[in-house]
Every structure is written in structure tokens, then in C-alpha cells.
Amino acid sequence: MKAAITVKNKKKPRRLSQRLQSIGAVFLFFLVWEAVVRIANINEAFISTPSSAIAHLLFAQPDANYHWQKNISVTLYDFVLGFLFTAVGGTLIGILIGWSKTIQKAVMPLFVMFNSIPMVAIAPILLIWMGYGLKTNILIAFLASFFPMVINTSAGLASVEDDLLDLVRYLNGSKWQTFWKIRLPSALPYIFSGLKICTTLSVMGVIVGELIASDSGLGYVIVNAQLMMDTPPMFASLIMMSLLGWGMFLIVSIVERLAMPWAFKDEIQ
């Protein structure tokens, strides 16, 4: 017991300092960006400084109104729904594929085929079929990100150490028990890494939809600002997009820690 306590005490400051390091790295990046633009005297219409981009987000500007609150919430909403849809749908498809070799053989080539088409190329057709709006953007987000989710889930289910299955088999347990008690838990690390990949791909999908046609959202802001050669709001949108992806990534990481406490017991030695 004592040993465990001292180990824990050692861990905390390290974790904290690691966190500080990563925050510091981001901060440094913005600092260098700001400095380069100012010192090299680059025209703000070419590359905006992060400070004026952020100022655009926070304060009303005299010359233009980009309705940040509305546009950010539209993108956020589409993104969260698109991500959840893919997370659940992709995992379920992955389970189906992991469950049956026949299904796997039948649908895998189709998936690979669809996944090989760049999303930007499909989006215009989807827009013709569905018009622009929430449904279309979620569908694009789904198509852009379901593949890694499916692949990771089914690979995770297949990754189980065969000998572990004997534990259920020698007591004549069912296929369901094998799935719930052995396969699914051993697939969790794969599923979570799929979810992490999925966060960034979902942002991309939603933004592609907004860039191609929409009347709101961060992608729409970019198109609009581009027409007016107004770069700070464009950079502001980029920063917001990356924040969205980052935020979801963080949430997934936290859920991962809660769902797999065994994997994070002594990660830092």
C-alpha cells in the first residue's frame, strides 16, 4: 500500500508539468506567428496576426459582421452530431464486420471503393440530392470519417489473444459472452484510437460541406471573407475549427480514461 502511495505522489507533478509543456508549445507557436508577421512587416491582408484574428472573434468589428456566435454554433452542432453519428454507426458496422467473415468479405471492397473517392468530389453531388443544410453536412462528415472507425473496430475485435477465448469455451459459454466479456474489452483501445482519428475527419467533412454550399457556419465565413479579401476572419475560422477538433479529441481522451482505467494506471514511469 505504501509503495502505491509514493508512486502516485511522484506521478502528479509530472503529469502537471507535461500538461504545462503542451500548453506552452501551443502558446509558443502563436507567439512566433505573431512575431514573424510583425517583425517581417507582412501585410495583414496576406497573413493576419493571431491577435487580430482572435480580436475578430471576441469584439464587434466596425467594417464587417460575421455573426460569429451563430456561425460557430452551426458548425459546432453539425460537427457534434456528425461525429456522434459516425462514432456509433462506424462502431456498429465494425462490430457486424468483426462478427461475421461473410459480411466482411461482402462489404469490405465496397467500403474501400467508397473511401477511395475524395470527399470534396462527392459533396457537390450530395448537395444536388439533398440540398444544403444539417443533414447533408452530417452525411458528408459521416462519409469522410466512418472508414477508420469501421476498420479499427473490426481489427480490434480480431486482435484478441486466441487463448483468452478458451476461458469462455471450456465452460461452454456463448458467442455473446465471448463478445461482451473478451472481444469487446480487448477491442476498446482500437475503438478509441478510431474515435480520435474520427474527430479531425468529422471537422473536415462538415467544413467541406459548408465550403461548397451553405448559408452559415465557419466554412461559410471563410468563403465570404475570401470574397472581401478579409484575412483575419479567415484565420479566426481556422483557429475555431482546430479548437473544435481539439476539444472533441480531449473529450474522447477523457472518456477513454474513464472507460479503460486499467490502461492508464502506470503510464508514466
Binding site: D163, L164, D166, L167, R169, L171, P185, W262, D266
Partner: protein
């Protein structure tokens, strides 16, 4: 001895593995009986098919030829077998206590009723206080002891043990041997016990079965007439030495 006394009859059991490089005959022809409440030790050179034999008995591998006759009147082979595998095979996402309770969940028994028993078994194998740890926080020998507790949790009649104490130090091993004998005699179980250690086989067993190298046959069966309950001091007796030596010589020849 009457047939009713038998728990298992293994007749001309043969196992051929089909591998990419052709056929590999693991079990040549193995024949022996196991009586109820008997403690049978099995020794044999590495790779001779001991694990294979145990897995076939447990229904985890198909046999190639031969017969395994189970006395169904005396026990239910689907629910009353306990298996200690050669590797600990703990589920690393489950705490120690939950690992021990796995068979209870698989057999769909009432988990709550077995929690106390799980704790007792963990005490018995010397793991008091580790119930809420994860397996990766335990040493190899500790993990193997968890797997022993797991194999006993559903109170199986027949226990198959595949080198269960291989990863333990000498002292812990002796302790576990004595504990195992105590459990065996108190709860009237039948045990098939694989080991590399001849003296362990003699010390524990009513009988020691000697298998030859692959393709394996039973080349010897030694009734161990040492007094029960066994005590460590018996290891210093001339009888014990004679058993050990003759089994050793048998293994050397084959």
C-alpha cells in the same frame, strides 16, 4: 475396482496437428483411467503433448482418434471442470476479484453469492489485499495464483492443472502444494496435474503417469503409496527417493 469408481477413461487417444509443414503427431496413443477423487500427476518431456492432452479432455481441441469416456453420473463435464492454463490468461481490464469471478458469470450463477468465496480463495493463494488491483500490477507468479483461484471458484469436480506452479519460487511452491492437497482432500476433487518437476509429481500424486516424447505414449504409471496427508518431511524418506529416481530413469530412457 468397479467402473463406478472411474471418472474418466482415456482410450488410445491420438492427436495429429495439421500444420503448414505437414502433419505433426503430438499424442501417439495415450490410454489411462482416472478414478474419482484421485490425484493424478502427469510428467513428460517438453513438447510431448501434455497441454494438448488436457485441452482435449476439456473439449478445447478436437481429438484425432480414440475415446474419452466420462462418467456422466458423477459429474457434469460442461460445468464442473476447472482449468488452470499454462499461462495465467487473466483479463487485463478486470480487477483481480473480477477475474476470479469470471467463471461464475459465464455459468450464469449469482455473482453476489460467490464474492466471499472469491475473497477466501484469494487469501488461500496468498493474495489478500490484491482484490482490487489490475493484473498488470502483479508479478507473473501472482498472476498464476489468481488463475488458480479462478479455476476453483465454481467448485469444479475435475480440476485440470497445466504446470500451475511453474512460475513460483521454491518456498511459495511448497506452500501452494500443501494448500492444493488440503483443498483436494477437503472438497473431494479429482485432479489431473501436469508438471515438469518429478518430486512435485510424486509428492502430490496418488499416481504419476509418465509420457514419452512425441508422438507420446504412456510409458509408465506409478502408484505412490506414501502416507496421506503428505508432509514435507516425507521428501526425505527413502521411499520418496526411490519413486523419484525410478521415474527419472524412465524419463531419461524415453
Amino acid at each position: 475396482m468397479s467402473d463406478n469408481n472411474k471418472l474418466l477413461s482415456i482410450r488410445n487417444l491420438k492427436k495429429v496437428y495439421r500444420t503448414r509443414d505437414g502433419e505433426l503427431e503430438a499424442l501417439g496413443s495415450v490410454t489411462f483411467d482416472v478414478n474419482q477423487q484421485e490425484f493424478v500427476s502427469i510428467v513428460g518431456p517438453s513438447g510431448c503433448g501434455k497441454t494438448t492432452l488436457l485441452k482435449i479432455i476439456a473439449g478445447l481441441l478436437p481429438k484425432s482418434e480414440g475415446e474419452i469416456i466420462v462418467n456422466q453420473d458423477s459429474f457434469d463435464p460442461a460445468r464442473e471442470v476447472g482449468f488452470v492454463f499454462q499461462k495465467p490468461l487473466l483479463l487485463h481490464w478486470r480487477k483481480v476479484l473480477d477475474n476470479v469471478l469470471l467463471p461464475i458469470e459465464i455459468l450464469k450463477l449469482d455473482r453476489k453469492k460467490y464474492v466471499d468465496r472469491a475473497r477466501e480463495l484469494l487469501n488461500l493463494v496468498g493474495l489478500e489485499g490484491f482484490e482490487q488491483r489490475y493484473p498488470n500490477e502483479l508479478s507473473g507468479g501472482m498472476q498464476q495464483r489468481v488463475s488458480i483461484a479462478r479455476a476453483l471458484i465454481h467448485d469444479p469436480k475435475l480440476i485440470l492443472m497445466d504446470e500451475p506452479f511453474g512460475a513460483l519460487d521454491a518456498i511459495t511452491r511448497e506452500k501452494m502444494n500443501l494448500e492444493l492437497l488440503r483443498i483436494w482432500s477437503e472438497s473431494k476433487k479429482t485432479i489431473l496435474f501436469i508438471t515438469h518437476e518429478i518430486s512435485e509429481a510424486v509428492f502430490l500424486g496418488d499416481r504419476v503417469i509418465v509420457l514419452s516424447a512425441r508422438p507420446s505414449k504412456m510409458v509408465g504409471s506409478y502408484d505412490i503409496a506414501l502416507e496421506r496427508p503428505r508432509a514435507l518431511s516425507q521428501k526425505a524418506t527413502p521411499e520418496f527417493g526411490e519413486y523419484t529416481i525410478s521415474i527419472y530413469q524412465k524419463l531419461e530412457v524415453v
